[in-house]
């Protein structure tokens, strides 16, 4: 509900009790704009009892019914009005919480017809309350991530906002939020998996999702704040931790046709002396590069080594990034991707942490699978000139045709070519394509990064 509706509701009370000084403050009834007065006369139903027998709560309840209740069903019956007032618990003129309690109550009615059915105006009021919260994060996503890759031509931001508001409000009203189904896309852990280890209930996808209902509203907190905390949680772009909190909300799992994903990435901390130039979220970080580090340990601006002590959450569209194992150098305490058989690029020590962590890198040349299939599988680590020469020799010596051609195109040539395009250009069917991928993986395993499934690891060691 908005200010105008609040004004109308309590104006009705003031109309009902024009002589009561407690109920006529703070704004006088006289002097109403003509159109508002006309609206009140035609839309708000009369009180069922005559003043002074009517109570102040009844005037407010009737006003609520007139604003949010069903049309063409007559006056609200006494029992329905009593139930509404019991749910709203009006205490004083201008009791905004009472109006919110009444609206939530009316939107969650379960009858089929008349006043026992959900009130259209109440459902629409909640829809509008949610809709107020949705545009800012969606606009930020649209500005920073662009259109979703698989969106149809008719995709429009304004309509996405309306749609998200409708679904989020529907989930809050009915309590049917299953956003934890997408916990893998947002690196949210499952309750049982972690609870057994930690012996305390952690904040997981399931525990977050369980609060996405008006039944969890304490009826004291402002309703708009409750909606914000469940649907959005954090301003995207305001702080580097924005995506980390946002991913736990309802909107992250729904927005942009459900194509968002989130994870931890490595962001370059090279000191530049100028404001951060990396891609989002860069606000609040000054004088460092903040470019995203790719799997060859160079950031998108070419800085090396990048000296990263902690990982940064960010959002992307499903399929745009893949997971790669990382380890922390125990000597300098920085994370790096290239820990296999190498010393630390910063301090030259060969003292890697025993347990690897994982970070995401942009999918440019996913190996084993194409980008469209999953963003959770490991991706290629990119090429330095030395590594390119090393790979080329190995391909020539270890592989036969057509796997040799496949490997050259896949690992050495056009870096934006993916498996699908290569297979199509080589007229490889699905089986031949899989054989080539497996052959490349088997023969060049020592030169390619280990996928996380094959790495000997226990718990990820990130964000110590």
């Amino acid at each position: 509900m908005n200010d105008e509706e609040m004004y109308l509701i309590f104006t009705k009370v003031r109309i009902a009790f024009p002589d009561d000084p407690d109920l006529t403050s703070p704004a006088p009834v006289r002097g109403l704009p003509e159109d508002v007065a006309a609206w009140l006369a035609t839309n708000l139903p009369p009180l069922r009892t005559q003043i002074p027998h009517a109570a102040f709560e009844e005037a407010a309840g009737v006003a609520l019914a007139g604003l949010y209740g069903p049309r063409n069903t007559g006056l609200i019956p006494a029992q329905d009005l009593a139930d509404l007032l019991a749910a709203s618990r009006f205490t004083h003129l201008g009791d905004a919480r009472a109006v919110e309690r009444a609206v939530v109550y009316a939107a969650r009615l379960r009858g089929r017809r008349g006043w026992a059915a959900p009130w259209p105006g109440a459902v629409n009021a909640i829809f509008r309350m949610v809709r107020i919260q949705v545009p800012a994060p969606l606009q930020w996503i649209y500005d920073n991530l662009g259109r979703p890759p698989a969106s149809p031509r008719s995709w429009r931001l304004a309509r996405e906002i309306d749609f998200c508001a409708a679904v989020v409000s529907g989930a809050l009203i009915s309590g049917r939020c299953f956003c934890s189904e997408r916990c893998n896309d947002f690196l949210q852990s499952d309750y049982q998996d972690r609870g057994n280890d930690l012996h305390i209930p952690p904040l997981t996808a399931a525990s977050d999702c369980a609060t996405h209902s008006f039944s969890c509203w304490d009826q004291q907190q402002p309703l708009g704040l409750f909606i914000w905390e469940n649907a959005v949680r954090e301003h995207l772009g305001a702080t580097p931790s924005g995506p980390q909190e946002f991913r736990r909300g309802m909107l992250a799992k729904l927005a942009v046709d459900g194509s968002l994903a989130a994870g931890e990435t490595m962001r370059c901390r090279q000191f530049l002396g100028i404001p951060a130039q990396g891609s989002e979220p860069a606000q609040g970080l000054a004088l460092t590069c903040y470019g995203e580090v790719e799997a060859h340990d160079r950031c998108e601006h070419g800085h090396f080594p990048c000296r990263i002590k902690d990982l940064t959450w960010r959002l992307w569209y499903v399929g745009q990034r893949g997971q790669v194992p990382i380890r922390r150098c125990s000597s300098c305490n920085y994370f790096y991707f290239q820990f296999n058989k190498r010393s630390c690029p910063f301090c030259d020590a060969n003292a890697w942490s025993r347990r690897p962590g994982r970070a995401y890198v942009p999918v440019r040349r996913a190996w084993l699978t194409s980008a469209e299939i999953s963003h959770r599988l490991p991706t290629d680590t990119g090429l330095t000139p030395e590594r390119s020469a090393e790979l080329q020799d190995a391909i020539e010596q270890r592989l036969s045709e057509p796997h040799r051609t496949f490997a050259k195109r896949f690992l050495l040539n056009d870096r934006k070519t993916d498996i699908d395009a290569i297979a199509e250009a080589m007229n490889l069917d699905t089986r031949a394509r899989r054989q080539s991928v497996e052959e490349v993986f088997a023969r060049l395993a020592d030169l390619l990064p280990q996928p996380p499934e094959l790495a000997q690891e226990n718990e990820p060691e990130v964000n110590p």
Partner: protein
């Protein structure tokens, strides 16, 4: 064994249909029906240019499940029943714009599969109850009940080609026939027309017509026809046993003798998407030819 997705869809459809019974809304005003699980809502919004729009949403959980995607919907004038908009839902949503002020009725096809019935068997085997393909005699009397009455049939071939053939008696007492087909199945072969036939115990063909189909997501197709208008005598036949059969119809195999049936089918079809298929078949009718006799053709 029914696939799990079908069962979930069945449950969803069971919930959706009562909510959409005589669902009316006024242009630019909110409306909502909910049973606590499935919610159908109409929200006033505005377009980028500021013109008023209505967002119609079918909610069955966040994120939207597949069951709310691709449902055919129809908007009719509440007073005249004239169709003003048609379309399919996109993840449970669609927008309406440019409607004249007034009251409208929302129809969304729930696309429910019915009981497992093999229509072909009904012609050969003696039937003892309505569940084997017989049209229920309950339709013999016109009912103006608050609740719609209906009966459904489904083929039990491996592809479940006829996902649903449903006879419905509306609140106004009219009988309608709608079919949902797995159009890309081998049996159906993506034919744009469904031929329905009604016959009695003596294998006398009482009525035969065509339902124009339009495509849905997942290789399915849907079509609807006013059965009362097509066969005004249907109710008088029902005290005797009558059976329903649905077959694919290749428009190229239609002959001039089918013109009357096609024209009558077209006259009893008001959905523009269904009319398009029937009208196309009518326009391509050959000048003359012979049609196989009833019972000779293959299903």
């Amino acid at each position: 064994v029914k696939p799990a997705a079908l069962t979930e869809k069945h449950l969803f459809a069971e919930r959706l249909r009562p909510l959409l019974d005589d669902f009316r809304f006024t242009w630019c005003s909110p409306a909502v029906r909910s049973d606590g699980i499935v919610t159908v809502s109409v929200h006033p919004t505005s377009s980028d240019e500021g013109t008023p729009e209505l967002l119609v949403s079918v909610f069955d959980g966040l994120p939207p499940p597949p069951s709310v995607h691709g449902l055919p919907w129809t908007i009719r004038r509440a007073d005249t029943g004239t169709i003003v908009r048609v379309g399919n839902t996109d993840r449970g949503r669609f927008w309406l714009a440019g409607l004249a002020p007034g009251e409208y009725r929302l129809e969304i096809e729930s696309l429910i599969p019915g009981e497992l019935i093999e229509p072909r068997a009904t012609a050969a085997a003696p039937q003892t109850d309505w569940s084997a393909g017989q049209i229920t005699p309950a339709f013999a009397e016109v009912q103006y009940a608050d609740k719609v009455a209906e009966q459904e049939f489904t083929s039990d071939d491996p592809d479940q080609t006829v996902r649903s053939a449903r006879i419905t008696q509306t609140r106004e007492g009219r009988l309608t026939l709608d079919v949902e087909i797995q159009s890309d199945s081998e049996l159906w072969g993506k034919q744009p027309l469904a031929r329905f036939r009604i016959w009695n115990d003596s294998s006398e063909l009482l009525a035969q017509g065509y339902i124009g189909l339009y495509s849905l997501v997942g290789g399915r197709a849907f079509g609807k026809l006013d059965l009362d208008g097509f066969a005004p005598d249907l109710r008088s036949w029902l005290p005797a046993r009558c059976y329903l059969r649905i077959d694919p119809q290749d428009p190229r195999r239609l002959v001039a003798q089918d013109r009357d049936d096609l024209e009558q089918s077209l006259a009893c079809t008001d959905d523009p998407r269904c009319r398009e298929a029937v009208a196309a078949a009518l326009g391509n009718l050959p000048p003359s030819g012979q049609r196989p006799a009833f019972g000779e053709e293959e299903v």
